[in-house]
């Protein structure tokens, strides 16, 4: 089991009902972790979701390490 710090923004923060949480997970990759959390928090379907690991954009298949910070990024809308 790894300990992962998650931060939530926008629509995901509203569904998770928190801005951040620490989870213990067996997920090997970001996409497996997202599947786990999406089920727990009932996230809505999002077609274009990105992921950041340790404050940089990452591939969904990047192996997670103990202590990583993960942020799921719904479609952005700055400006």
């Amino acid at each position: 089991m790894k300990t992962i710090q998650i931060e939530y923004f926008a629509v995901l923060r509203e569904h998770a009902r928190c801005a951040s949480e620490t989870v213990a997970t067996a997920a090997m990759t970001a996409d497996a972790l997202y599947a786990e959390l999406a089920a727990r928090h009932e996230f809505p379907p999002l077609q274009t979701l990105k992921v950041a690991i340790n404050d940089d954009f990452a591939d969904w298949h990047t192996p997670l390490s103990d202590g990583d910070t993960v942020v799921f990024i719904p479609p952005v809308a700055g400006g």
Binding site: F9, D56, F57, P74, V76, G78, G79
Partner: protein
């Protein structure tokens, strides 16, 4: 990123330079409508650490692509009212072509890549995160974030 109202006139001096003949700016203002809905106010949320990092990358790319001298971009977070300035971009350059093109490049890339989210609160009481497929057509009530 700034949680306080933007004051473009104060930042103008940051890009002033005697070598520059062209100065192009862009401001994004909070409009009173979006896609046919009357907007009452907005909320911007940002993943600030990555937003700053990606913003710096965009500025570096612009400096690489265009013959600019100085460039600045500041984006609001928090609650905004109609007419408030959400984002400000300013570029000074030797000539106007580089100033215009760099300014346009920066705002286009910021909107596309920087992790900032906008929630619109409508006059009809609905609300929704812009560009969020799951929030599309919030006024139909199919998906409610309140």
């Amino acid at each position: 990123m700034s949680s306080a109202p933007l004051s473009p006139e104060l930042w103008r001096d940051r890009v002033r330079d005697d070598r520059c003949g062209g100065y192009a700016t862009f401001e994004g203002w909070v409009r009173n409508t979006n896609e046919g809905l009357d907007v009452r106010r907005l909320e911007y949320q940002a993943y600030e650490r990555l937003a700053n990092k990606e913003g710096q990358r965009i500025m570096a790319e612009a400096a690489e692509k265009f013959a600019l001298v100085h460039a600045v971009c500041v984006h609001r977070t928090g609650e905004l009212e109609i007419g408030d300035t959400a984002v400000w971009v300013a570029v000074s350059a030797g000539h106007r072509d580089a100033a215009f093109r760099a300014c346009r490049y920066i705002i286009d890339e910021v909107k596309l890549r920087v992790p900032i989210w906008k929630k619109e609160y409508y006059v009809n009481g609905d609300s929704g995160w812009v560009n969020c497929e799951a929030c599309a057509h919030p006024h139909t009530g199919t998906h409610d974030h309140r």
